[in-house]
């Protein structure tokens, strides 16, 4: 059954065309994908998330020719950001919707000789394809991608906004790939936005982002996952940090039939810093699964990771956070916190904050909580004349508000507030106090 599925995926890889200089990487990806034992419920990394939704489908690749004009409704979902915008529709770059690219950016297909060398040097090297199943598949399916390369001590004047939107129907698979290389002292902001229009029912996006943050460089990374309920998403963000590098990450996801997002960050130079915040908001029958891993390979690095989840209806959330301190990574400061709010009787959460520590002079702490809305807080609000339904929305929003407020990109923060509020209460009456700050 599973082996069959792996073969089926490989057959799809053969249908993709790619520039010849990337075919080695694709072949490698295919090999790793084949070599993977297919995960079962006994595989630790997939203990709580079933891959059946992806296995039980006969996948087709998205048709390139079809529908490149998006409806007004879809366009309205774009974040109005003064940025270099790249719009991928069904996995292909749509040049009409995208802005002119700066010199720092290029698609793999248009890369010049020097950029090709750079891509070959890093692509597929940052994400470990032996351990990350869908990273291997992403390389195997590679047909299009984008490189963001900022030269030493340069600062990209505007954020980069990469939109992945799908509007094709049943059982269409899409591959997305981004490579970020920041040289010494460079600075950039990247916003990745995944969504699907309501017409898309059962598509599957397999996305992979690889980042190299050079010495003293700084990357701000936002990843917004708001696909339709039936869409599948398997994604990964893999980052390498050199000396004194900074990574500031924010991620938001709703749930769907299958949504699995892996963050894997490696401190490879001393003094590097990771700030990672995440929010997951599954509802109805949705599933969401975040796996994060931060590896401290060298001394004097810091990590601060906070994930909050509000799980409603019969939804199910999984959080697996792991901090791995290697031997000799002394003077590490690492903190991880995961808090969950269950707002219904059927909601479920499985959380596993792990610490694996091989050095002694470190300060590490992690905390995890699971609870429901505080009765006293509810009582307080209702005693002030707020209806119970509205109070619930306010308290749910308050649970994640701290992280939303932490988003530095103003436009994004203002864009997020009403959307998150609407996930808790569709009715404007319920969200009026939240949206009008």
């Amino acid at each position: 059954m599973a082996g069959e599925f792996q073969q089926q995926a490989l057959a799809l890889a053969a249908q993709q065309t790619v520039t010849p200089w990337l075919s080695d990487l694709r072949a490698q990806g295919s090999l790793s994908w084949q070599a993977h034992a297919w995960p079962t419920r006994k595989t630790e990394a997939w203990r709580y998330t079933s891959l059946l939704p992806v296995e039980n489908e006969q996948w087709q690749l998205c048709d390139i020719a079809a529908s490149n004009t998006l409806s007004d409704e879809t366009l309205a979902e774009f974040i109005e950001l003064d940025a270099y915008r790249l719009v991928f529709v069904n996995g292909r770059l749509n040049s009409e919707l995208s802005s002119a690219l700066p010199a720092e950016m290029v698609t793999f297909a248009d890369a010049n000789a020097a950029q090709q060398v750079l891509i070959k040097q890093h692509l597929g090297q940052i994400a470990d394809q032996q351990t990350h199943l869908f990273a291997a598949l992403n390389s195997s399916w590679l047909h299009e991608g984008v490189l963001l390369h900022v030269a030493a001590n340069q600062r990209l004047d505007k954020p980069v906004y990469v939109v992945h939107v799908n509007d094709q129907g049943d059982a269409k698979a899409v591959n997305a790939r981004v490579l970020v290389v920041l040289e010494t002292g460079a600075e950039a902001t990247l916003l990745e936005h995944y969504f699907s229009t309501s017409t898309v029912d059962r598509g599957w996006t397999n996305a992979l982002t690889e980042c190299v943050v050079g010495a003293n460089a700084s990357l701000k990374h936002y990843r917004i996952n708001l696909e339709s309920e039936q869409a599948l998403h398997t994604g990964g963000v893999h980052v390498r940090l050199n000396q004194d590098a900074r990574f500031n990450g924010f991620t938001l996801a709703n749930g769907s039939r299958l949504k699995r997002i892996d963050y894997h960050l490696k401190h490879l130079g001393s003094g590097s810093d990771v700030q990672l915040n995440g929010i997951y908001l599954p509802r109805k029958q949705q599933r969401v699964d975040y796996h994060t891993c931060v590896e401290h390979c060298v001394p004097h690095c810091t990590t601060n990771e906070t994930f909050r989840g509000v799980i409603a209806d019969s939804a199910k959330a999984v959080f697996n956070g792991r901090i791995h301190i290697h031997q000799d990574a002394q003077k590490t400061l690492a903190e991880m916190s995961n808090r969950n709010l269950l707002t219904s009787d059927q909601a479920q959460v499985n959380t596993k904050p792990e610490l694996e520590i091989y050095a002694d002079d470190v300060r590490c702490a992690h905390g995890a909580t699971v609870s429901q809305l505080n009765d006293e807080a509810l009582f307080y609000l209702t005693s002030r004349g707020v209806s119970e339904a509205e109070a619930r929305v306010m308290l749910s929003f308050g649970f994640v508000n701290e992280l939303v407020e932490g988003v530095e990109l103003d436009v994004l923060r203002h864009w997020l507030r009403p959307r998150i509020a609407h996930m808790f209460g569709q009715n404007d009456q319920l969200t009026r106090h939240i949206i009008h700050e």
Partner: protein, 431 residues
């Protein structure tokens, strides 16, 4: 009984050795292990305490488990299991007056077949896991305790295990049944002398606390941990689990200092409403010891509560992992869990790991988990040394303070001994 064991053996043959724990050890040749070893032939089994090998009495004394009648004041009834056979059980008559049954399980099988049949395997079934299946197939002795309704056991009960023979596996089975409204406190001590070869210890402990009963189970484990180079030592693969009925309480307290590899998760199934589970643990590893230990709290009943306090101390080249599961079932309304696991690192070649699993399927269940990892702070060391303590004493004092929350759960004599054990185990880890 034979059939029950054969069934377990067949199950065991179909199972694979688990490899998910955070420990490494060479493969065990299960054919090379002796499954039964009697300390002396049954005829000249010691008739009274005076005939017991003075060396063994000595080890008892060192551990603070008074076996001699003169120490009757301490009021502890002891069942001593050497290798595979229960050697001596003290205070039998006095306990029987109170209606308490405390005897080797080999005897219980003959004398109380109904009780044994009803409860054995009810908490840890044969196919529970690899080592539990092995134990079910080959166990030769262990302790059996039954506390009748409403009885408060008049003294602490204690079992003492020792593996003497080389290359022997010890597979004891303990079954404790606390009937409605009863109370019992049970101590378990383990040691083994120094051997080059690795020995195997795969025990199963089953606790049954019926309505309103309370069981307190304390363990001080001092198996031979292997030498400085990690040679020899005990492989300790133990399954311990208790089931709590309505308003019952099970409390596990453990101090782990021995064994080369530990794989042990004393667990509570909180089946009845308002039942309580507690787990207090100190696990100390030094040299090349490896420990993967923790607990499982399975909340099924309403308003069930559990507390987990785990303190891990790693020194030398050792690896110490906490692995715990807190599961709130979909019927566990109002359930509450608090978990705290702290790790202390001594030396820069050791590891401390935490793998907590939290599964919550009820919104009114509240789960809290906290963990910290740090080393013995230089400031604390400086303060102690400046007051005239040498480095080793200072560390031992700081470690004792770190473990205080757990030690105060132990019965008095044990708490003092546990402190000393830590001191001995930490020897040579500083400076």
């Amino acid at each position: 009984m034979l059939e029950w064991r054969l069934k377990a053996y067949r199950i065991w043959q179909t199972m694979e050795e688990p490899d998910w724990a955070h420990v490494h050890y060479p493969e065990i040749d299960f054919q090379a292990v002796s499954y039964y070893s009697a300390p002396k032939s049954l005829e000249d089994r010691p008739k009274s305490l005076d005939e017991v090998d003075p060396d063994l009495i000595e080890t008892y004394n060192k551990l603070g488990i008074p076996l001699h009648e003169q120490e009757m004041l301490a009021g502890v009834a002891v069942d001593a299991v050497f290798d595979s056979v229960s050697v001596v059980t003290t205070f039998r008559e006095k306990l029987e007056e109170a209606g308490v049954i405390f005897c080797p399980i080999s005897e219980a099988v003959h004398r109380f077949p109904d009780l044994v049949k009803k409860y054995i395997g009810s908490v840890v079934p044969q196919r529970d896991n690899y080592y539990a299946a092995l134990n079910s197939a080959v166990f030769s002795d262990g302790s059996f305790v039954y506390i009748p309704k409403g009885v408060r056991c008049p003294m602490e009960l204690s079992t003492y295990f020792r593996i003497n023979q080389m290359n022997t596996g010890q597979f004891e089975r303990t079954l404790i049944i606390a009937d409605e409204g009863s109370h019992v406190s049970y101590l378990e001590g383990c040691t083994a002398p120094q051997r080059d070869e690795n020995q195997l210890h795969a025990a199963v402990v089953e606790l049954i606390a019926l309505d309103n009963a309370e069981i307190k189970y304390s363990t001080v484990q001092n198996w031979y941990p292997g030498d400085e180079n990690g040679k020899g030592g005990i492989y300790n693969f133990v399954t311990k689990r208790g089931i709590c009925h309505t308003r019952a309480k099970i409390s596990w307290t453990q101090v782990e200092t021995g064994s080369a590899v530990t794989w042990k998760y004393p667990s509570c199934i909180l089946k009845g409403d308002h039942s309580v589970g507690e787990f207090y643990s100190v696990a100390l590893t030094n040299n090349y010891q490896q420990a993967d230990t923790g607990t499982k709290m399975i909340h099924l009943g309403k308003n069930t509560k559990s507390t987990i306090i785990s303190k891990g101390i790693s020194a030398g080249h050792s690896q110490n992992a906490y692995r715990g599961l807190v599961r709130m079932g979909s019927s566990a309304a109002g359930a509450r869990n608090y978990t705290q696991c702290d790790s202390l690192l001594i030396g820069d070649r050791c590891g401390a790991h935490t793998f907590p699993y939290i599964e919550s399927a009820h919104p009114s269940a509240i789960v809290e988990h906290e963990a910290t990892t740090s080393k013995v702070s230089d400031d604390q060391m400086f303060l102690c040394q400046q007051r005239g303590l040498d480095a080793e004493k200072a560390v031992s004092m700081i470690v004792n303070g770190f473990c205080r929350e757990v030690f105060k759960q132990l019965p008095m004599e044990f708490a003092v001994e546990a402190g000393k054990l830590l001191e001995v185990s930490l020897e040579g880890s500083v400076g």
